[in-house]
């Protein structure tokens, strides 16, 4: 591969260049504190549980956790680019910082909506995994390609509306949803009782 091509392939989209440079600066500098306390470092992890360190993400977490994709795709499998490793981390850093800041400022909307850049990333990722099912010779799904080719604006989840978060995802839609915390698995008396037993 030509060196030129290689660079092209790892560069983030043109309209992000400024953001990326700034992000990198902040990332390695002052921003580290905010990032750390706000659990922004969790952005570098692939463990979905870390995304819901922010309660505003609970709706997405619990819907994902009950979806068919919970077993096969973590948040980052859909929400960050997977075309090359550099892009993956740049995107994570940029998103992490923005979300941490909004969260800290209490500026989050009642219903979070995915942004344009995010949409494209997700769409690419659907295709990345489902290539074979949407590839023409597997006729089952020929429709998808035509829709996308004609550019009439349909994304995978325009049809697959419940995949994976569903249509009901407002902050107040999940009043008592349990998100994973290392809670106590049994009451105190039982813990003591079985501990004693174990000693015997």
């Amino acid at each position: 591969m030509k060196i030129r091509n290689f660079f092209d392939s790892i560069m983030p989209p043109r309209n992000w260049h400024l953001t990326v440079v700034v992000t990198l600066g902040i990332f390695f500098g002052l921003g580290f504190l905010v990032f750390h306390i706000g659990n922004g470092t969790s952005y570098l992890s692939d463990n979905p549980a870390t995304c819901i360190n922010c309660h505003v993400m609970t709706a997405q977490y619990v819907t994902w956790a009950r979806s068919s994709h919970a077993r096969v795709a973590s948040c980052n499998d859909c929400h960050v680019p997977h075309n090359n490793i550099v892009n993956t981390y740049l995107f994570k850093a940029q998103d992490g910082l923005r979300h941490s800041t909004i969260f800290t400022m209490r500026a989050e909307p009642e219903v979070i909506r995915i942004k344009e850049a995010g949409i494209n990333v997700v769409e690419e990722n659907c295709i990345r995994c489902h290539q074979h099912q949407v590839f023409k010779t597997k006729i089952r799904h020929a429709v998808t390609l035509d829709e996308r080719t004609n550019n009439n604006g349909r994304f995978c989840w325009d049809c697959h509306r419940e995949t994976p978060h569903g249509r009901v995802t407002s902050l107040s839609s999940f009043p008592y949803a349990r998100t994973p915390k290392l809670g106590k698995v049994m009451p105190e008396w039982l813990r003591k009782f079985t501990e004693e037993e174990n000693k015997k």
């Binding site: 504190l33 905010v34 306390i37 706000g38 659990n39 360190n53 922010c54 309660h55 609970t58 619990v62 819907t63 956790a65 009950r66 979806s67 068919s68 919970a70 077993r71 941490s100 969260f103 800290t104 209490r106 419940e162 569903g166 009901v168 407002s170 107040s172 839609s173 999940f174 009043p175 008592y176 949803a177 349990r178 998100t179 994973p180 915390k181 809670g183 106590k184 698995v185 049994m186 009451p187 008396w189 039982l190 009782f193 079985t194 037993e197 174990n198």
Partner: protein, 467 residues
């Protein structure tokens, strides 16, 4: 910085209790004041109208459906009465009503029927709880299975309150406190939906998983502790009775192995207006395919139902064979004994019958088994068939030695009534005694419980009997 930390604390307090729940509160309706959606949906477990090909929410007389069961359990209370389970809200009613509690039972029988159990265990101690008589504990145990059995009243996190599950994990060297949330979504069920036995004089509830949890492993464990549930009234076989190894068999199927939890199918999310919550109507998923199976599978309801039935049909075909040849082996063994067969001659036969019956029972005693792990069920049943038939091959040789002409004449036990009559079970008497008990003893229990509830916090709440 500080505000982020504040905001994280906030995140942990997602819900505000309308009325904080006392640590041992057994009444669902009290919990329900804080969580009306979950409570209302849980009340639906009272429904008895759904019927699928093999299961459903109504009660089904299994002895009438499969009369061979009566023969296979001759000498045990199961030959009197055994039904399909119903929803959780019926648990107290059903254990009071079953003719199986017409014989003396230990208090251990209450363990999986009520939210009063953790309360009492905490109060009098676990071993003391099990030790008592079933009837003596009656006034204390009146609330059916509920919130207390699965939730921490402070945080609403899932938690385990039945010691037997924790102990079984410990003996296997596994740490249940390390369970993930997804695992907890099955482990709360595994407190009850498992094979068990009453260990020793203290009738200590024990899950026999020390050597693993398929039929062969559990048999090895029981053989090693020389456990016998009853001696068969016809064949004199020392029998092992299997009870609903739902969780164990589920772990041997593809859904369990892929990390799909009980709650994914039996308690899927429900959307009501703009709110989503866990549907607590725990029931056959075939009554709610759109929200359970179709989360993961795109096929039509009809196809998915057919998939379930196909698997159940194939397993049932083998179960019918296993059941029939087992009953035949018991009946033939009786003929052999009646004609003077010796212990020595019968030894191998009884060994085979014990092994065959254990396998058949393990495969069929879980009402979901035939879908949860159909191939494993078929494997065990194939082995069961081989063993009961082998017993019959040996019996045929014994008949030759005893000069009994073959084929031997067997009684007509083709219906529940005929089979019970053949076993000389005085069913009319059992039913009479039970009705007496329900009319005289049970109201006493409920009265005492109502008095207790009055003294508890939120005593304005009615008892569960109201639903």
């Amino acid at each position: 910085g500080a505000s982020i930390i504040e905001r994280r604390t906030e995140a942990e307090l997602t819900f505000q209790m309308v009325k904080p729940i006392a640590e041992w509160e057994p009444r669902n309706e009290v919990w329900g004041e804080n969580f009306p959606r979950q409570f209302q949906s849980y009340l639906n477990t009272l429904d008895t109208n759904f019927r699928s090909k093999y299961n459903g929410s109504g009660t089904v007389d299994m002895l009438a459906r499969y009369p061979n069961l009566v023969i296979n359990w001759a000498g045990y209370a199961f030959a009197r009465d055994y039904t399909q389970p119903r929803g959780h809200y019926h648990a107290i009613d059903d254990i009071r009503r079953t003719l199986r509690t017409g014989v003396p039972q230990p208090a251990t029988c209450w363990t999986c029927k009520s939210t009063d159990v953790p309360r009492m265990m905490n109060k009098i101690g676990v071993a003391n709880f099990y030790k008592g008589k079933w009837v003596d504990m009656g006034p204390e145990i009146v609330n059916p299975i509920g919130c207390q059995d699965c939730h921490d009243p402070k945080t609403m996190d899932l938690r385990i309150v039945r010691p037997a599950l924790v102990e079984a994990f410990q003996r296997q060297g596994k740490d249940i406190t390390k369970a993930t949330q997804q695992e907890m979504r099955s482990l709360v069920c595994a407190q009850c939906h498992v094979e068990y036995y009453f260990k020793g004089e203290g009738k200590y509830l024990t899950f026999p998983w020390d050597k693993g949890n398929d039929a062969d492993d559990v048999e090895k464990y029981y053989d090693s502790v020389k456990h016998v549930d009853f001696v068969h009234a016809l064949s004199k076989t020392p029998i092992l009775k299997a009870q609903h190894p739902d969780y164990e068999v589920y772990t041997l199927g593809i859904h369990g192995q892929r990390g799909v939890a009980c709650a994914d199918c039996h308690m899927p999310y429900k959307t009501e207006g703009g709110v989503k919550f866990t549907n607590h109507w725990i029931q056959s998923p075939l009554n709610n395919i759109a929200n359970s199976c179709q989360i993961c599978h795109r096929e039509s309801e009809q196809t998915l139902t057919q998939n379930v039935y196909d698997r159940q049909d194939k397993c049932r075909e083998l179960a019918n064979l296993a059941e029939h040849y087992l009953a035949t082996a018991h009946l033939e063994a009786k003929v052999a004994w009646d004609n003077g067969a010796t212990d020595e001659q019968m030894k191998e036969v009884l060994k085979l019958i014990r092994a065959a019956q254990w396998r058949w029972d393990y495969a069929t005693a879980g009402n979901g088994n035939m879908f949860h792990a159909p191939l494993e069920v078929a494997r065990i049943l194939g082995n069961s068939i081989q063993k009961s038939q082998e017993a019959r091959v040996l019996l045929a040789s014994i008949f030759a030695k005893l000069n009994v002409p073959t084929p031997v004449k067997l009684p007509d036990v083709s219906t529940k009534e005929k089979a019970q009559k053949y076993l000389q079970l005085n069913m009319a008497q059992f039913v009479k005694e039970k009705n007496e008990f329900l009319k005289t003893v049970v109201p006493e229990w409920d009265k005492k419980a109502a008095e207790r509830h009055q003294k508890m916090k939120y005593s304005n709440q009615g008892g569960q009997r109201n639903y």
